[in-house]
Symmetry: C2
Subunit: 323 residues, 2 copies
C-alpha cells in the first residue's frame, strides 16, 4: 500500500476539526492558541521493545502514545488542542497492523478532544518508533510548573500508584497466586493509562508544582524537589493503592520494600502535585478524580520515603530509567 | 554519563532566548506566536541507515535534521522561531559522539535564528532516530500552500538541482573520473543542505504554491500538481545544474536519461514554486537567492519532463521513496 494513500485515507480523517492541518496535504500546518492563551507543548517518544512490547495490541500502543502526552498536558494545567505524530514503521508491517494503530488513535483522540495536526512517517527495518508532540492551550501565565513547591505545602497524588509497574515487575510466582482479575487490572493500567485531563483546570492557580508520574513516584517527586529547591517527605503507607497493588503487597515478606517497589515502578500517569492543604480537596471536588495527601514539602533537598514509624525506607532505585 | 546531566549541561543551553522552554527543566514548554501571526509547524524524521549513513559526521547529521525542517518553513513563507527535538540514541553511543551532535545543533541554530523549545530523549539498541518539529511564524493567513497553482503561472526553482542525489547515485566509475572538488560539492550538498530561509518573506503573497524539493523535483512538482489540480510541464534543459551536475551529465551516454536522474534524485532542499511570470525575478531580487524559470502550469494533471524538442522524457521513477 502506497504511503500517500495511507496518509490520505487513514491519517487525514484524524485531522478533522483542525483546518490548519489542511487535511495533511501540505508540508506544514498552521495553528494559533485561542485569544488570551498560550500553547503548552510536550513530547514523548515510544520505542518498540523498550516502551512497548512487540506483542502489545497496536491500537493500545497508539492510544498510550497519545495518553502519556495528554497526561503531561493535564499536569501542566493545559486543555488538549492538537498533536503531531512522527512514526518510523517497522519495514514490512502489514497495512492491517498500521490500520489497527490508527483505530487506536481515532478512538482516543475522540475521547480526549484532540486532533492530528501533522507529522511525518517513514519506515526502517527492525524499528518501531512513535514520536508524539501534544499541544494544549492554557490561559497565558497559568502554566503549572515543577518549580513552585514551598515548605508548608502538602504533597498530593491522583488515583492509585503501582499497578502499571507491577505489570512489568511482578514475578511468575506472584502471577500464579494473584487472581486473573487483578492481573488484568495491572495489564490495563500499563497498556491504557488514564490521563487526568479532568484535573487540568482545577490545578491552575491551586497547585504550586505538578507533574505526571512516569518515571516512578519517588523519581518524579525528586524532579519537583530539585526544581523547586525543597525536600519532599512521602509517607509510604499513605500512597493510594488499587486492589491489585494491595494484594501484591500482601504477598511480600518485607512490606516496606514492597511499598518502595510500588513507589518506584513508573508508568502510573497519575498527577503528583504540591499546594496548600486545601488544594487536594478542591482539585478532587472540581475534577471528580480521587486525590490523596501523601506527604509534605519541607526545607532541604531530595525525597524521603518514610515508613509507619517515620523512619526512612532505603531505596535500591528511585525510578525507571531507559539509560 | 547521566541523562539528566547531559540535558542540563549540553541541551539546555540550546534553549536560550526562549523563556517558555524553562531551560528544559519541566515536562512541557509554552510558546505563542507574535501578535498578528500564526505558528507554522512542520515535522521531519531522520533514521540512521536510511536518511543518514552510520559514518556521516554527527554534527552534520544534527545540522541536516534542523536544515530540512527550516527548508519546509522557508517554502511555506514562515520565519524560524523554535524547534522540538526527540532523539532515540543508539544504546552505548559515547558521550563525545552525542556532544558532537549537539555542537552541530548549536552551530546551525545560531546561524538560522532558531532555538530549542523541548523534546524527549531515550536510547535503544541499534536505533538512531532524530525527530524534529520546527515552528515558524507567519502573518496570519499568509501561509504559502501547495494548492494555489493556476494555469498561466510559471514554475520556478531556487539554486541548483541534482548534486545531493548524485552523492548517492553516482557510480564508482563516475566517481573515478570526476574531479575531487566536484565530488566534494555533491557530498556537501547531501550532508549540509542550504535552507532558503532568505526566500520566506519574498514568497508570501507572490508564490501561488510552493514546497521544498526533498523527494525529487518531479515527485515534488507532482505534489503541487495534485493538490492544485493542475499539470506542471517542466523543461529538463532549463533545470539549473551545478558544475558537478553538469560534469556528471557530460559523462552520460543518454543526456535525457541523465537529466531525468537529476530531476528525480531528491534531497535538494531548494524551493519549487509557482506564480505569475514576474514572481521569480521578484523573489530572486528580494532574497538574493538565484531563481530559474523551469516550466509552466497548465490545465490538466500530473507532471511532464520535456526534452529540448518538447517531447516527454520517460521516467523510471519520479523521486525517492522510503517505502
Amino acid at each position: 500500500v502506497d504511503e500517500f494513500a495511507f496518509i490520505r485515507e487513514r491519517l487525514a480523517p484524524l485531522s478533522r476539526g483542525l483546518p490548519g492541518a489542511r487535511m495533511l496535504t501540505d508540508d506544514a500546518a498552521t495553528i494559533a492558541p485561542p485569544d488570551g492563551h498560550e500553547l503548552v507543548v510536550t513530547a514523548d517518544v515510544l520505542v518498540g521493545g523498550v516502551h512497548f512490547r512487540q506483542d502489545d495490541p497496536l491500537d493500545l500502543v497508539a492510544g498510550k502514545a497519545l495518553r502519556v502526552n495528554l497526561s503531561d498536558l493535564a499536569a501542566k494545567g493545559a486543555e488538549p488542542l492538537a498533536y503531531l505524530l512522527s512514526i518510523v514503521w517497522p519495514r514490512g508491517l502489514p497495512v492491517e497492523a498500521k490500520s489497527k494503530f490508527v483505530d487506536g488513535l481515532a478512538r482516543d483522540q475522540a475521547r480526549f478532544g484532540i486532533a492530528l495536526l501533522g507529522g511525518d512517517t517513514t519506515a526502517a527495518a527492525d524499528h518501531f518508533v512513535v514520536s508524539v508532540i501534544a499541544m494544549g492551550a492554557a490561559p497565558t501565565g497559568s502554566f503549572v510548573p515543577r518549580s513552585g513547591a514551598r515548605p508548608g505545602d502538602l504533597v498530593f497524588v491522583t488515583g492509585e500508584i503501582g499497578d502499571a509497574g507491577l505489570e512489568i515487575a511482578a514475578s511468575a510466582d506472584e502471577r500464579h497466586i494473584l487472581p486473573p482479575a487483578l492481573l488484568g487490572m495491572m495489564a490495563s493500567r500499563y497498556l491504557t493509562p488514564e490521563p487526568r485531563t479532568a484535573c487540568a483546570q482545577a490545578l491552575r492557580g491551586r497547585a504550586t508544582a505538578a507533574l505526571d508520574v512516569s518515571d516512578g513516584l519517588v523519581a518524579d517527586a525528586g524532579h519537583i524537589a530539585e526544581t523547586s529547591g525543597v525536600r519532599l517527605a512521602i509517607e509510604a503507607e499513605k500512597i493510594p493503592l488499587s486492589h491489585a497493588g494491595r494484594a501484591w503487597l500482601s504477598l511480600q515478606g518485607d512490606r516496606n520494600a514492597g511499598l518502595a517497589t510500588l513507589a518506584t515502578g513508573g508508568d502510573d500517569y497519575e498527577i503528583l502535585f504540591c499546594g496548600p492543604p486545601d488544594a487536594g480537596e478542591a482539585v478532587a471536588r472540581e475534577s471528580g478524580v480521587s486525590v490523596t495527601a501523601i506527604g509534605r514539602v519541607e526545607a532541604g533537598e531530595g525525597v524521603v520515603l518514610l515508613n509507619k514509624a517515620g523512619v526512612e525506607i532505603p531505596l535500591v532505585k528511585r525510578g525507571y530509567t531507559h539509560f
